[in-house]
């Protein structure tokens, strides 16, 4: 496909009809997100985030035209996803990586009890 044809196709994807369709869907989803949070459903937050994910995907694929982009851009996005996953995993791991028996430990009382037992045994 020639460069000029590709550019015109890209522009054609942004016709008023397409844009309005995407806009209407995004607005409906926004109102649905706000509505989901007002319900007493325990899954309300999950629903809100699921809708946000759909909106984000729509913006990424259609408005930012990632769906039509070159492999270089997809490569950058894939690397970013890996780095973000690393950020989250390392943060969670650090949160749970605490010294046993320290005041940040999940069960300091149980560890203290074990130490008391050991001391009595040694005596």
């Amino acid at each position: 496909m020639g460069a000029e044809t590709e550019k015109r196709d890209a522009a054609a994807a942004h016709t008023p009809r397409n844009q309005i369709a995407v806009f209407v869907v995004l607005v409906i989803l926004t109102l649905a997100t706000a509505g989901a949070s007002q319900t007493d459903l325990a899954a309300g937050p999950l629903v809100a985030y699921a809708i946000a994910l759909v909106q984000g995907t729509l913006i990424l694929l259609v408005l930012m035209h990632v769906a039509r982009e070159k492999r270089s851009v997809l490569g950058i996005l894939a690397l970013t996803a890996v780095l973000v996953a690393g950020l989250v995993i390392l943060s969670v791991a650090a949160y749970y990586d605490v010294l046993e028996g320290s005041k940040w430990s999940a069960a300091p009382a149980a560890v203290e009890h074990e130490r008391e037992d050991l001391r009595r045994h040694e005596e």
């Binding site: 015109r8 942004h14 970013t80 943060s91």
Partner: protein
């Protein structure tokens, strides 16, 4: 001196320089906001029952309005770029003008929200919730403001480059649009995180 690859595509990446640059920049911005969102998650976990529910302390209607404003502005900037592709500069200016107006409206609503918080004695130093709320929305506010400066520059001075180097100008609008869609994307996730849960 001619800067290479401002319009012609590089053979290795298949992109012009500006597009490669903006995607790398947006990748770094994902790490910035990713770090801030992580901070929010851990502050919220640590806060336990003391963490206030978003709808109780923040205005969901105003935030919903802000979301609709940004979504609309994303549509208008996309239409502005498409107008340039079809060589219609007047239409481009009109859509760009709408985008700027919507961005300014977003900042105005945000300012009203902040003012309301301050008038009730809630500041970033009040507690962790307000600290992370003001930080997340404040950094986003700064991104919107910076984007508006660039949009305003294109609106006021765009015709000069449009007459001289048309394709290069179109590419500039495309990368500016990518940045604008990104800040919209960040808000799409900020909205439920802060206001709805």
């Amino acid at each position: 001196m001619d800067i290479p690859y401002t319009t012609e595509l590089r053979s290795d990446t298949g992109l012009y320089n500006g597009k490669l640059g903006i995607w790398l920049y947006l990748a770094s911005e994902v790490m910035l906001f990713g770090g801030l969102f992580s901070a929010y998650v851990f502050l919220r976990i640590g806060g336990g029952d003391t963490w206030p529910s978003g709808p109780e302390v923040l205005s969901v209607p105003l935030a919903t309005l802000n979301t609709v404003l940004l979504i609309t502005s994303s549509m208008t900037i996309a239409m502005a770029w498409a107008s340039l592709k079809f060589n219609d500069y007047k239409k481009f200016q009109r859509y760009l003008g709408f985008t700027i107006a919507l961005g300014v409206a977003f900042l105005a609503v945000k300012t009203i929200e902040y003012g309301d918080k301050f008038s009730h004695g809630h500041f970033p130093s009040t507690n962790n919730f307000y600290g992370i709320y003001f930080l997340l929305t404040g950094v986003h506010f700064a991104h919107i403001a910076g984007g508006l400066l660039v949009l305003a520059f294109h609106f006021l001075r765009g015709r000069v480059m449009w007459e001289r180097e048309r394709e290069r100008f179109v590419n500039r609008i495309e990368v500016t649009g990518l940045y604008w869609h990104f800040v919209d994307l960040v808000w799409i996730f900020l909205f439920p995180t802060l206001y709805l849960i």
